[in-house]
Symmetry: C2
Subunit: 130 residues, 2 copies
Amino acid sequence: MLLNVDLSDQRPVYQQLRDQVVEAIADGVIHEGNRLPTTRQLAADLAVNFHTVAKAYDLLRQEGFIQVSRKTGTAVRITGEGPAPEWRAGLRTVLAEAFAKGMPKEEILAACREVLDSFGASRRTDGSLA
Amino acid sequence: MLLNVDLSDQRPVYQQLRDQVVEAIADGVIHEGNRLPTTRQLAADLAVNFHTVAKAYDLLRQEGFIQVSRKTGTAVRITGEGPAPEWRAGLRTVLAEAFAKGMPKEEILAACREVLDSFGASRRTDGSLA
DNA sequence: CCAATTGATCTATAAAAGATATAACAAAGG
DNA sequence: CCTTTGTTATATCTTTTATAGATCAATTGG
């Protein structure tokens, strides 16, 4: 399955779902136009409350990753240019965690490159969601 | 002041303090051996409860950024090798946020380089905490 | 047309996290 | 001896997270 919930994860469920959708878009597993499951359907699959899924969808909508339409359902649609203004602050914190722990800058940069290289590798030409 | 609290920030106060200490270490503003204010002192300066500061310190201690001693006080001391195991997952999420929003990989990598270049630039040779 | 589905909205409840407030204690240091 | 400090414990309060049930309008599919 594309999305899953880990109860041992420290992040709240709606945040896990949000992160997984964002990473799935980056990976190319889902892309512009792809439809996401309905809140009730996904909630049933994941055995969580549909309000929790709705919260994740609402967050993704606010951030400009998806568009929710009563007619056509929920679909991936990127709006706005580039990441949020606070993005660099978050990046800085993550990189600081590694550098403060003694990881060399070259290794950190190499890790960034590896992660970026993995993005887009799972792109599909058809519209299937596997 | 080195540390400050932003009530409009979405992160909890103890997390803000934790992040600021980690970034201060990465920046070189504080380094191995430097002592941090006592929990009660810092709490008074920031106008927060000292339990909140103690929680931040305890988190930093668990992560291996500081060492707390009843004798010598709280000081920066890096223990363990490199970042935590979950670090790469966090990095992946942050980078995905930018790439999914259409930011080119080269620009993302350039942002990483800029942030890394800023680290260590504020290193002090004396032991002052300005 | 009709039944089912869906997004949304509302209320309610419960558990957990975050933050504050006091208090007490042992150890250390002046 | 007295203050400071880290630590621990308890209590309270607010916010967040998650679940639950119910309703409604709109849409879809038979």
